[in-house]
């Protein structure tokens, strides 16, 4: 999409944005699987007597999935496959189709932030920066999750984060980060391309 619009010239009719079918599927599966991971994860969190629901902030049942600890674990350890396989497949797709070159943050975005006053260009840059930045957060959630799930088979994963508490803090921090991301991502997408852009990611 050509974003260098000269405001003084007559506007060409905007092309409806089109996204690859694969992208729509990966993106939607991300949303579903993340919803399952977070709600079941909060169910698991609620059972913790030290750094969790029984020792601190208790999450109301409306936000949890599974009803009790074993139920939360069933959902969490089922959805983790959907979440991680989908995320890695999406990543592979982005690499192999070279989508990373034109749809994710690049040097042109950083330069634009420094130089331009064009609000549309800035919005576009921020949009790409934000949805690129969430990727390491999701990967960290997976790594810390694996460390907590299998600390005996992957002890080096726990060591990277120092100790058990470090592991838990990073894992749990991904929850508010992702929730805030969803709000900002939605808003930036709307500002960058309106409802048409939002809808193009789904149908």
């Amino acid at each position: 999409m050509n974003m260098d619009i000269d405001r003084n010239s007559t506007r060409k009719p905007q092309k409806l944005p089109k996204q690859d079918l694969a992208v729509k599927i990966f993106h939607s599966l991300n949303i579903v699987s993340l919803f399952l991971m977070i709600t079941s994860g909060l169910q698991i969190y609620n059972a913790n007597p030290v750094f969790g629901g029984r020792g601190g902030l208790h999450i109301p049942p409306i936000f949890t999935l599974g009803a009790w600890l074993a139920g939360g674990r069933h959902w969490h350890f089922a959805a983790m496959w959907l979440f991680s396989v989908n995320l890695f497949s999406y990543g592979m797709y982005i690499l192999l189709t070279r989508r990373w070159q034109h749809r994710f943050v690049g040097n042109n975005d950083i330069k634009a932030l420094q130089k331009t006053d064009n609000i549309k260009r800035l919005t576009y840059s921020w949009h790409r920066i934000v949805y690129t930045a969430i990727i390491p957060i999701l990967l960290l959630a997976i790594c810390t999750g694996m460390g907590m799930y299998k600390p005996a088979q992957f002890p080096w994963l726990v060591d990277i984060f120092g100790n058990w508490q470090g592991l838990r803090i990073v894992h749990f921090a991904s929850v508010p980060l992702i929730i805030i991301f969803v709000v900002i991502h939605w808003q930036l997408g709307k500002r960058a391309g309106g409802d048409k852009l939002i809808e193009s990611m789904f149908w």
Partner: protein, 249 residues
């Protein structure tokens, strides 16, 4: 019932809601889109169905990545976290006469054993400093000292057909493990914790201790070890409520 007990019951044990049975719930809402998920939050809807699909697969993966004879890296004594080791029990603390106490090892073995504490403590002593992980999500680095369960079982000469091991405890708790995890070099019957004689609340005189399984599998107050070739429908106190059986770390 005190407040803590109520907390535990709400979070760890399935409480059937008498007002809305699962059948009523499914009839009312059907299986339609996200609305179902949203109203499913906080209720038992679907969780055991999901578990039935995913847990067998997850346990296969766990058994695949488990390395039966590879020790897990240990910690140094200044890393021990004594205050972090929370004490959970499903039914209080039994009182055991240490003089009368006997450990029975039987089942699919050529030479069943009946040992008192003196005999057990005369066997080679192993000490380890490992991370204990509870399904509740907390962990603690702890020193356990005791006898290697694999060595004890070898004394009883298990049959080739033995694949599983059942554990009975003095408080009525019961567990079953796969044999490879039982014979892992860091699976002990422990009688020492953090340099001191194992306290009663932590399972004295003998408790299971290992870094390769979740805490609920590490029975306290062990009285009987039975080798079997098959698992029955009763796999363990918490397993029979819905928690996973292999529970490998």
């Amino acid at each position: 019932m005190n407040h803590n007990q109520q907390e535990i019951e709400r979070e760890l044990i399935k409480v059937i809601n008498p007002e809305v049975s699962r059948r009523q719930f499914l009839k009312t809402w059907g299986i339609s889109g996200m609305g179902f998920f949203l109203t499913g939050c906080g209720t038992p809807a679907l969780e055991d169905l999901v578990g039935k699909i995913s847990e067998p697969w997850n346990q296969k993966v766990e058994q695949l990545i488990f390395q039966p004879q590879k020790p897990v890296p240990e910690f140094s004594s200044n890393q021990i976290e004594p205050k972090s080791l929370i004490i959970n029990s499903f039914r209080g603390t039994p009182i055991i006469d240490l003089e009368k106490y006997r450990l029975i090892i039987d089942g699919q073995v050529n030479h069943p054993l009946n040992l008192n504490m003196r005999e057990i403590q005369s066997l080679p002593y192993t000490s380890m400093i490992i991370r204990h992980v509870c399904v509740e999500g907390w962990a603690a680095i702890v020193q356990w000292g005791g006898v290697r369960l694999g060595d004890l079982i070898a004394l009883a000469q298990p049959h080739a057909s033995a694949k599983y091991v059942y554990f009975e405890s003095a408080d009525g708790y019961y567990e079953s493990w796969d044999l490879p995890s039982v014979t892992h070099p860091q699976t002990l019957l422990a009688y020492e914790k953090n340099g001191e004689k194992l306290p009663r609340e932590n399972g004295a005189p003998l408790r299971l201790a290992t870094p390769v399984k979740l805490g609920y599998k590490q029975s306290k107050w062990v009285t009987r070890v039975t080798l079997t070739s098959k698992l029955t429908n009763f796999k363990g106190y918490w397993e029979d409520q819905g928690y996973e059986w292999f529970a490998g770390l």
